[in-house]
């Protein structure tokens, strides 16, 4: 039986890839955890910091565990991935944007205050 080969790399390099991915993920998880629990970063910046760490860790796992971008041309896997990414961005940020606007314009108890504060309209 011919073994199924997702990439053309030798086995030792594949093992090294998994190890690299694992160690990097552990480090990134640990740094994010400590940044939140030990409050090493100003509280208004820590959210953005851990999101950046998460994006890096997701990239690490996509490359070392899921071997994204290592296929030969045409790169259909990568194409579908980027399409998914576009849908994800539209879905998540679109939802937040719309709901933010609805809250701003529709919440009865806050509406008056918004009009007074932001729109320069006074009673």
């Amino acid at each position: 039986m011919k073994p199924i080969v997702a990439t053309t790399k030798p086995k030792s390099r594949l093992l090294l890839g998994y190890l690299t991915g694992f160690v990097l993920s552990l480090i990134l998880t640990g740094v994010a955890y400590i940044a939140v629990t030990e409050q090493l970063i100003p509280s208004n910046a820590v959210g953005a910091f851990v999101v950046k760490l998460a994006i890096i860790q997701i990239a690490v796992q996509l490359i070392f565990f899921l071997h994204l971008g290592q296929e030969s041309r045409p790169r259909w896997k990568l194409t579908v991935f980027f399409f998914m990414l576009a849908v994800l961005v539209i879905l998540v940020f679109g939802s937040l944007w719309i709901m933010e606007n609805l809250n701003y314009n529709m919440m009865p108890d806050q509406m008056d205050q918004h009009i007074i504060n932001d729109e320069g309209v006074h009673h």
Binding site: I4, A6, Y33, T37, A54, Q61, F83, V92
Partner: protein, 194 residues
């Protein structure tokens, strides 16, 4: 083309199809993340996220799942090297770590429910249980998959179809760890900030 080449071509199609499924599954999770983000502050009379999150507990869950994901990669390498015993042993470890993760998650859910913080209390808690629970269901499905794979390895050895299924399983398992990074960061780490 000889038989091996034809098989490889068919497998490539299967892997691509499964990859496409995983990408659509991310869209499912993206809708749940968007819902969670929109409803996060809708706590009604229930608790806010920082009041119910036990970070050290979730860190252990995270490390269990990460190690499980790594071990599934090693299991695939062992299988490719034709080491049947090692593959089976590694899959047992993958299963144990995954089961530990689900067990911890269920105990977290049970604790919240017993404290009166169930899914029906507020929009925030509904979104929380739906997002985290959907991931937990995927993990549970993966655990069943491991059991089936284990039986197939026992019965058929590392045949080409078993190898294909094992490869698909590791893709699924790595993918679930990627989703967990987002849950760990957005729901737990950021949610623990007051």
């Amino acid at each position: 083309m000889n038989e091996a080449v034809i098989t490889t071509h068919q497998n490539d199609k299967t892997y691509f199809g499964f990859w496409t499924y995983l990408m659509t599954d991310i869209v499912l999770f993206a809708t749940l993340f968007a819902t969670y983000a929109v409803l996060k502050n809708g706590v009604a009379h229930g608790p806010s996220s920082h009041q119910i999150i036990d970070l050290p507990f979730v860190l252990i869950e995270t490390i269990l799942l990460l190690t499980s994901s790594f071990m599934s990669g090693l299991a695939l390498l062992a299988a490719r090297a034709g080491k049947r015993q090692l593959t089976a042993a590694l899959l047992v470890i993958v299963f144990g770590l995954g089961a530990g993760f689900v067990g911890m998650e269920l105990s977290e859910f049970a604790k919240l429910a017993s404290e009166g913080h169930g899914w029906q209390v507020s929009a925030f808690l509904s979104a929380f249980f739906t997002l985290v629970g959907t991931h937990g269901l995927h993990i549970t499905a993966g655990l069943l998959w491991i059991i089936v794979l284990g039986m197939q390895i026992g019965r058929f050895g590392l045949s080409s179809s078993v190898m294909r299924r094992l490869t698909l399983f590791t893709m699924f398992w790595h993918f679930l760890d990627v989703v967990w990074i987002a849950i760990f960061t957005i729901v737990y780490l950021m949610g623990s900030l007051a």
